[in-house]
Symmetry: C2
């Protein structure tokens, strides 16, 4: 066939990018989790008790909230304070590290809110394109 | 017991925040996915073919890459171009919407890279704190 080779705008091989992606994989397992993002969004407003966080988020199980708060505490992003009442009250708060994460997390949330309708429109067009023949 | 009630800095009930969190849940299912973030990071450098994306990311299965690219195409963030070669070459590229998502995604990535060592330090201290007692 005498077809001209298409002029593909391919990127030259970048040897460093794969290692960067592997590192990003490990990083995103920390901060790229949906529940992590939601808990950070709640606690950025102020400290909260377990049941209040659970109520505010809605739709998160007891087990998932426990697990995610523990992971955030382990990563130094959330502090856990036990007040000596009967029964003891446990309060969760963002550390300075957690507050610094809230900055890019809010930017992502703002982008998502700002483009939600546009994305919905794309989905509707995609899902009906075969019907339009 | 005559214990004083601790002065907890609790937040007043905010009725709107729960609906906001539910909306955020749906939004984060789109953009808060680890593989989505990685594909956007690869394609922001320029269009790529399927196998090149797979090789650059590393550790993503054929099925997961297919599924995530299809979801991104459905959301209007990635375009899919079939070049009429034999065999046909299929190329994926970010749309303007996809490029705009890359901005907050990179900010999150920059935060994560900048705090990786600090987080590692917290993890080590957390995991060894019971041993130190």
């Amino acid at each position: 066939m005498d077809m001209p080779t298409p002029d593909l705008p391919t990127m030259p091989e970048q040897p460093g990018i794969s290692a960067e992606c592997r590192r990003m994989n490990s990083i995103l397992s920390i901060v790229g989790d949906k529940w992590t993002v939601m808990i950070v969004m709640v606690l950025v407003e102020g400290p909260q008790r377990f049941n209040a966080i659970k109520r505010i988020i809605g739709g998160i199980s007891q087990q998932m909230l426990t697990r995610t708060l523990k992971a955030l505490e382990r990563d130094g992003m959330v502090s856990r304070t036990v007040h000596p009442t009967v029964p003891p009250q446990v309060e969760y708060a963002l550390t300075p590290l957690g507050h610094s994460l809230a900055v890019p997390v809010r930017a992502l949330g703002a982008w998502a809110r700002g483009h939600m309708e546009e994305i919905d429109g794309h989905r509707i067009r995609y899902d009906t394109r075969d019907l339009a023949g």
